[in-house]
């Protein structure tokens, strides 16, 4: 088998440039986890259904399993590792999930945190329906969703109290 052609590119993740050398078929999720070592982004289904791999691309949530690393060139990527502040203080969404017990095993959590951070940045005080629709693309096999929905409302309240902006 002939060696696969490698593309040299720089991925900007959480503000930090990471030079990587990857075949064109490297999924962004795998580049983040294996090439860069940021294993906070989880991989569940690899066909867009579970939402675990959600990251922000220029601030918008996307599935990192449905994108090639080569296509992410020149874009700003934010992963769950980029949500906390420089001193490690959790963002409002992370704190709300902690306070409201919005997770059990935690496998789905990075995807929820990214989706909800983006949701609240666009709509700081969502209705119950908007919250449910907003997280409908993320699957959780543990919680039954009730505490996740509560976490989203709590995060919205924390943000309007000025207790913390969702970063970024």
């Amino acid at each position: 088998m002939s060696a696969e052609h490698l593309h040299d590119l720089t991925l900007t993740v959480n503000g930090v440039p990471h030079p990587v050398s990857v075949p064109a078929r490297r999924l962004l999720s795998d580049a983040l986890r294996h090439d860069i070592g940021l294993t906070g982004t989880h991989v569940g289904c690899e066909h867009g259904v579970c939402g675990c791999c959600t990251v922000l691309l220029d601030g918008q949530p996307v599935r990192s399993c449905l994108m090639f690393a080569v296509s992410a060139r020149g874009h700003e990527i934010t992963t769950v590792e980029g949500l906390a502040g420089p001193g490690g203080e959790l963002n409002a969404v992370q704190r709300a999930f902690q306070e409201c017990h919005g997770l059990q095993c935690g496998f789905c959590t990075p995807g929820f945190l990214m989706t909800v951070t983006a949701l609240l940045a666009e709509n700081p005080s969502p209705t119950e329906d908007e919250v449910v629709e907003g997280i409908s693309g993320n699957l959780c096999r543990c919680t039954g969703y009730q505490n996740i929905v509560a976490s989203v409302h709590r995060a919205a309240a924390l943000m309007t109290d000025g207790a913390g902006e969702p970063r970024p």
Partner: protein, 300 residues
């Protein structure tokens, strides 16, 4: 669950894209949002030798609200079109339908043109193109000359996941005609979960005359026919105000025209039943949205 190897091309302009596609012919696939293609690659259901990534071709990233139509370019994302107030005003069915396409996160990346090119009979935008009487523009290059052809939905969709796109052709843009104020539109569907592909979906277009009576009506279907089907309901609905319209006849007509298949999620009979129920629902909603609809009395 990893994609097979392929050679990657990332042209920067439309001219370059058409050149690369012409050169590679049937060995190449266009990569737009990747929301249908990458799952197929991950599951190894497709293994193209070359992928031509058009995401860097900024001239294809357009939503142009013109006097006659809304024209969207090959990399205009579902989300961008959904949020465009000008497009929603000119052609309300776009936003009505896009809200039902997958989840918001998928819509951030997936494109409407990609959805049409994919020709999935469960894709909402296929029925939107069909029922509105829109067209797709296919572009190709030969010996440095660019050729374009505009096709209606009836000519473009051939079979499930099969369109008239030829090797070397790019679906450059799609045009959705403006909806006059006298015409109301609606999209009704039933999916097992929000964001899933629908078990059945109906797009309706109902035009009322100045007296508030139905002048014409038609619906487009998804998930119950191999390609989107347009059923003209003018003969059974016209000449009376929506409240007195014979919706049962409309339901029967649509049910007689669809040809659903059974699968894991629903029997053929259930899908046919849904086609009838959703026709009633969509026609009623569409009629209420016409500028000539009688003033609302309580709930719509």
């Amino acid at each position: 669950m990893k994609p097979p190897p392929f050679t990657y091309h990332a042209p920067a302009t439309l001219a370059e894209t058409l050149e690369v596609l012409a050169e590679l012919g049937e060995d190449a696939k266009v990569l737009a949002g990747g929301q249908s293609l990458i799952p197929l690659l991950n599951m190894r259901l497709a293994a193209p030798a070359h992928l031509v990534d058009v995401n860097g071709v900024s001239e294809l990233d357009v939503v142009d609200v013109g006097p006659d139509e809304v024209r969207v370019g090959a990399i205009a994302r579902h989300a961008r079109i959904e949020r465009d107030d000008g497009a929603a005003a000119a052609c309300p069915l776009l936003r009505q339908a896009l809200r039902l396409v997958a989840h918001a996160v998928i819509r951030n990346r997936g494109t409407t043109c990609g959805s049409l090119a994919h020709a999935d009979p469960a894709g909402e935008m296929t029925a939107v193109l069909a029922v509105l009487g829109g067209t797709v523009r296919l572009a190709s290059a030969a010996a440095g000359r660019v050729t374009r052809r505009d096709l209606t939905a009836g000519k473009f969709f051939v079979a499930p996941l099969e369109s008239s796109l030829r090797p070397g052709e790019l679906l450059e843009s799609a045009g959705f005609p403006r909806t006059p104020a006298s015409t109301g539109t609606a999209f009704a569907e039933v999916a097992r979960r929000h964001g899933d592909y629908a078990l059945c979906g109906i797009a309706a277009l109902v035009d009322l005359d100045a007296g508030g009576e139905i002048a014409s009506a038609r619906v487009g279907t998804i998930s119950v026919t191999p390609t989107p089907l347009v059923v003209d309901l003018t003969d059974v609905l016209a000449g009376v105000p929506p409240a007195r319209a014979d919706l049962a006849a409309a339901r029967e007509k649509v049910m007689a025209h669809v040809d659903p298949e059974a699968d894991l999620h629903a029997s053929a009979a259930y899908r046919r039943h849904l086609a009838g129920v959703l026709t009633e629902r969509a026609v009623r909603q569409a009629a209420a949205r016409s500028a000539h609809a009688p003033a609302e009395r309580g709930a719509a």
